[in-house]
Symmetry: C2
DNA sequence: TTATTGTCTACCAATTAAATAGGAATTATG
DNA sequence: CATAATTCCTATTTAATTGGTAGACAATAA
């Protein structure tokens, strides 16, 4: 149930883009520096987000990335799915792209898949009602307070 | 967001125990054979479940495992937590045992932790309202139909 | 034409998950 | 008591995944 580092990077990069106006582009370099993310790794993250239709890019000098849709239109679920794949607890229980998992051939696995499909749907529902706009709002709020205070907040 | 093989084994082993009466014990060997789980691996799984207070064991000849609590008293959440650890999407966002994760020192991580703590709580809520009794019921149902039919059911 | 930027693919390193191994401790039973 | 069956515990090995790096290539603005 753990979020990969990759998708955390994606979330941070996207709030970074969400903070800019829609028209202006931000370079990989700038995002990497600001968010302290390994540049070449971030490259792959953004490429995946582009493939998922969440961001758009322009190349060449002065190029960079921008959101392709409004922050309120992108959900946490969209982002995590784009990076980490289906949210289903089991490969075979994915609504998007169900894949027969090993050990899924016999009867026992079948009822498990049933339960897990439902669990996956509920998890998706949770993640799909939190939008990038929400994240940006929270990020902006915490930006305003002192880092030191936040660091030790429970 | 994927379930480990280990916890799938745990779920299957437990439904196996749930199917037996509370008083009778089932040996690792029997469970492993019935559920086609590597015996030595299952050993570790059951040990973890025991440490979590979900099952009890008796050693020596004629020994084995049995549930320590009623199937309706154990939740999916309990089981998965016992095997895979906290359900939180981020180590730092665990209600049970929050651990400072690398990159969690600066301001950006803090708002992420906030969101993820909430997400984790909701996921927990989902998993904690499904009980082992529910799983056993489903397992019993699918047992009654033909394996072949189930195999290709969507 | 050149500097800057994204695109793509392959690769390597580190970590984690899955499985295996083997001996110690415990207990029922002949 | 001796033995076989069983859990307990820890270490090791193997496989898979994740995290990160590298470098050649393509596009574009100036």
């Amino acid at each position: 149930m753990r979020l990969s580092k990759k998708s955390v990077y994606a979330l941070r990069a996207l709030t970074c883009l969400g903070a800019s106006t829609a028209s202006e582009v931000v370079s990989i370099h700038a995002i990497a520096r600001q968010e302290r993310i390994p540049k070449k790794f971030l490259e792959q993250v953004l490429l995946a987000l582009k493939k998922a239709g969440i961001v758009q890019s322009s190349r060449g000098k002065g190029g960079g990335y921008a959101l392709r849709v409004a922050p309120a239109q992108v959900t946490l679920g969209d982002i995590i799915r784009a990076i980490d794949g289906p949210l289903a607890p089991l490969p075979c229980a994915s609504a998007v792209s169900p894949v027969k998992c090993p050990g899924c051939l016999d009867v026992e696995s079948c009822w498990l898949r049933g339960v897990m499909t439902e669990v996956g749907a509920e998890v998706s529902a949770v993640l799909d009602h939190i939008t990038l706009a929400d994240l940006c709002r929270r990020a902006a709020l915490s930006q305003r307070r002192s880092p030191h205070v936040l660091m030790y907040e429970i």
